[in-house]
């Protein structure tokens, strides 16, 4: 039965020993261990979060770079196309200009030719008039009795004049 009765001496030693250990560990043992582990846990989760954020940021930068690259390429293509267009347009315009110029030259030439023709005609008319007057003057100066000889004469005159014109 002694086994089932607590011993006062042992109870006292147990209280002393256990409470000393409890107070020492409660003061400078467990809080340090738990505090440090929790602090480290917090630090690790913070770091993980920060790393993830950095990763995301990096991914954003990469995407932005790609976007910029794509935009630059598109711009390049656009500029090239524009220049191509401009070139064609310029050539087109130049052609039109040239055609216009050519037309103008042709027109001018025609006008000049027509003018010269008209001038030549006018000169010819004047010549014919002068010739006719000349012929008439000569006819008048001759006394024309004979109808046949008159006609012959006119024809001779005409012939002379014609060769003159033709010459």
């Amino acid at each position: 039965m002694e086994l089932f009765l607590p011993e006062s001496g042992l109870v006292i030693w147990m209280l002393i020993g256990f409470l000393i250990v409890f107070f020492i560990l409660a003061k400078v043992g467990w809080p340090m261990i738990m505090g440090a582990v929790e602090q480290r846990n917090a630090h690790i989760s913070e770091s993980l979060l920060a790393a993830e954020e950095a990763n995301n940021a990096l991914a954003g930068i990469e995407q932005k770079r790609q976007e910029t690259m794509a935009a630059a390429q598109a711009e390049q293509i656009k500029i090239m196309k524009e220049s191509q267009d401009l070139k064609t347009q310029l050539i087109e315009e130049a052609k039109i200009q040239a055609r216009k110029e050519a037309e103008k030259i042709v027109t001018d030439a025609r006008l000049k030719i027509e003018k010269e023709q008209a001038e030549a005609m006018a000169q010819i008319k004047n010549e014919v008039i002068a010739l006719s007057v000349d012929i008439a003057e000569k006819l008048l100066q001759r006394e024309l009795s004979d109808k046949q000889s008159q006609t012959d004469y006119i024809e001779q005159l005409l012939k002379n004049n014609t060769t003159r014109i033709e010459a």
Binding site: G9, V28, I33
Partner: protein, 368 residues
Amino acid sequence: MNHVLKHIVVFLFLALMAFAPTQSMAQDAEQPKKEKFDAKSFIFGHTGDSYCFHITEIKGEPVCVWLPVIVKCKDGGSWHCFSSKHICELKEGETFNHNGANFYIAPISADKYPGKLVEVKADGSLSRPFDISFTKNAFGIFLVCIFLLAFFLPAARKYKKDPMAQPTKYQGLVEWLTYTVLDGIIRPNVPEKQVKRFAPYLLTVFFFIFFANLFGLIPFFPFGANVTGNLSITLVLALLTYFFVNVFGNKHYWKDILWPDVPVFLKAIPLMPIIELISTITKPFALMVRLFANILAGHIVIMVLMALIFIIGGMYGAGMGGVMSIVSIFMSVFMTALELLVAYIQAYVFTILSSLFIGMAQHEPEHE
């Protein structure tokens, strides 16, 4: 091949067993009986407390660590402090006189105060003095205490010096042990806000019980004191749990005890408050007895298996004792392995129930 060998061994044992009794009987007839093996004092001498720490015997002389005896005699007697060497080496019937008081240790078979130090008064009556001797179990307690401090404080100091440093392997071990208890036992039972408040006690209790159990299983000096298999020690642990449950219990907890939600006639008598108050005592009482009984039972079983060798040997002779020793050793290896498991389980159970009771006393009712 192994199988055949096993059969041969078993056969040899059986053959030995057949011859053993006749041999011993012949011996018994020739020789006068040697001193009889006292199984009771053997078992309870090893599982109980003792004034000296018996290590071994060399040539019949005991090798002991003599621990101090500190007693105060009853009825206004004086304090006495002396080495247990004087009283442990007494022959039967002798007493040790210290400053006018006579002491001896009552034998384990005695009716009164077995195994305890008693004072023999002048008229021959026995009286048990107030005894705060630093016994084998007290030694065991302080061994565990020193071990706990030596194991956990260096880690704590390292953490304090640089909490963010990469932990060493030793710190990893401390962390693992601490957080096994903290996350596995305390956190599920104690409200999160109160964990910081109660964790130091619960952690200390767990590791005290756990290492005391383990040290109790190591059969040589300075270990082997049956610390947690002693009622005085589990009593203190249970009282501390009782203290932490009830002193820190919140208003709601006390309201449930003193004015529970039952019909008024049940609490006006006051039947229910008395039952509830008793239940606060039975919980730590169960803790106390459970730990004590489990550890003591394990130690007793191992000691009985050891004692069986000598009992059988005494009854049927050395041959049979030899056979029994093989059986006993196998059995006690098994038991010791089982006790390793029990060492953890009992520490776990004590801590989980303590945290459960503490957690229940901290429980806040949900507001409707």
